[in-house]
């Protein structure tokens, strides 16, 4: 019997088929969620409402999530912290990474420190940032900075090192000086990779901020998550999760949109 072509190993279905597959999976999960949380009384449900809310409860809870829990303010607070911490990390780590990638001695010198920074677990950075910066806004911003800067530095340096020698050789035989090579060859040719790294790291930073916000945040998406759990309002907790997911997707779509404009010479944008 011939295997179904769609199920053949590594066979790539057409885009509509792939989209349909994703859609079917979502419907199945929603259906399972609905069935497991439906019932006339709490006792009749397979999963108790105190453990996990039903889809209807999440939707009904949404207006109060916005009004009573200040969802919009929470989004603004979280994004603000990420922008500050991540922006600071970009400002510091990208120039250093460019230097480390261009001048191998500096790169070799930075290597062990960078490795140390990248191996500190996020779980350890949290108490460390509290220790160093207290419990205010500064701690949240610095937490994001410390968590992302070593990676931004490392990946930037790697992108610069990854520019093939033949481009540098070509530039040299066309009369380029060292600073010409850096400004006109290394940085522009590494930029698409650096941008892709920024895009991926921003997604991670946005996830990290919730961690910092479970400690004395006063506002922010992580704060809303924790308060919802403490007050026994699972419908707010789950509703916020959907908001976070949609937000992360939206931001990434924005990055992708600008990628096309910034790098028209890149053939693939996927």
């Amino acid at each position: 019997m011939a295997p179904l072509p769609l199920l053949a190993l590594r066979a790539t279905p057409s885009l509509p088929v792939r989209q349909a597959a994703g859609g079917v999976a979502i419907v199945l999960v929603l259906l399972a969620w609905y069935l497991l949380t439906s019932g006339a009384t709490p006792e009749a449900r397979a999963i108790s409402p105190s453990v996990f809310p039903s889809p209807g409860e999440v939707i009904k809870g949404f207006p109060s999530l916005v009004t009573e829990r200040n969802l919009v303010g929470g989004i603004a607070a979280s994004l603000n912290r990420v922008f500050l911490g991540f922006g600071l990390a970009l400002l510091v780590a990208i120039p250093l990474g460019i230097v480390a990638g261009s001048f191998r001695l500096f790169g070799a010198a930075a290597q062990p420190i960078s490795l140390f920074g990248r191996t500190i677990p996020v779980a350890a950075l949290l108490p460390l940032s509290l220790q160093m910066f207290g419990i205010g806004e500064l701690q949240k911003v610095m937490f994001i900075f410390l968590a992302t800067a070593p990676f931004i530095f490392h990946d930037t340096a790697r992108a610069i090192v990854g520019v093939e020698d033949r481009y540098v050789d070509t530039a040299r035989t066309l009369g380029a000086s060292s600073s010409h090579v850096m400004a006109k060859v290394l940085i522009p040719l590494a930029l698409p990779d650096i941008y892709a790294m920024i895009r991926a790291m921003f997604g991670i930073a946005f996830g990290y901020i919730m961690l910092a916000e479970v400690v004395d945040a006063g506002a922010g998406l992580g704060y809303i998550l924790l308060q919802s759990q403490r007050r026994g309002m699972p419908e707010h907790l789950v509703g916020t999760l959907f908001v976070i997911s949609a937000l992360a997707y939206g931001i990434d779509a924005l990055f992708r949109f600008f990628e096309r404009g910034f790098f028209p010479y890149r053939r693939s944008h996927e």
Partner: protein
Amino acid sequence: MSDAASPDITPAAAGAPATATAGGATQETTTVVEFTQVGKTYDTGYTAIKDVTFRVDDVPGHMEIVGILGPSGCGKSTVLRLIAGLTPQHPATTGIVKVMGKPVEAPGADRGFVFQDYTSFDHRTVEQNIAFGLECRGTPANERLELARDWIQKVGLDVKRDADKYPHELSGGMRQRVALARTLVLKPRVILMDEPFGALDPKTRYAMQDQLVALSREVQATVFLVTHSIEEAVYVGDRLFVFSNAPGTILQEMSIPAPDRPARVMQREPDFLDIVFSVRDLVEGLEMYDRAGT
């Protein structure tokens, strides 16, 4: 230099001056490129070339194209990169590499290089790629643009259609035209080409050969062309260096008639083919000798 009626190959002992200079008159002739007992041993301990000695004299009005032939791995690229001053080939382990009478110290725009791999800068349009060297030199923007457009035309591209294209929109032949224009616009004294047409189809290849001959004469540059095609070397070259392997050195240096008709025409003529066959016999003989010797 020679009439094309008979296969005219003049083997010369490796290292002898190209033009027959009668006793001791060498002081007045400057050399474009001069290798004296040049050897290169890489960090790996492998000796790629040894005792390479040759000179290409600067004869006003007669710009030579030197074809370099030899088996794979015999050090052809090593020689070109030594002339260019590119690491890790530069500096030579032994001997002296001189360009225009001075020892080579670093790469410079006086020695253009066209690589086999495509090296167009992806983020620059055709026009901006060609203007790269002028930009480094500090040529004003409007002058740069004018020169770049000039050269787009000279290498057989279309200003309207191609000037604003990015490299990923170009065919292999177009990319090598851009690479050639990018080098020639700087009017280098020496042009180094490492199998530049290796990846092109025969028709494009003929066209590029003719363009190379015409344009290198126009900018008055001495060309070193490394190629695996004996036809190409014999057609384009005024002189051939045939390298032997392990460690690489020049085993045969010969003068051949300069190209005076289009590649597509000349490369079909019996006289031309006679020369190609003689060179082929020679190269194969060298390879045999090479094998017997090791």
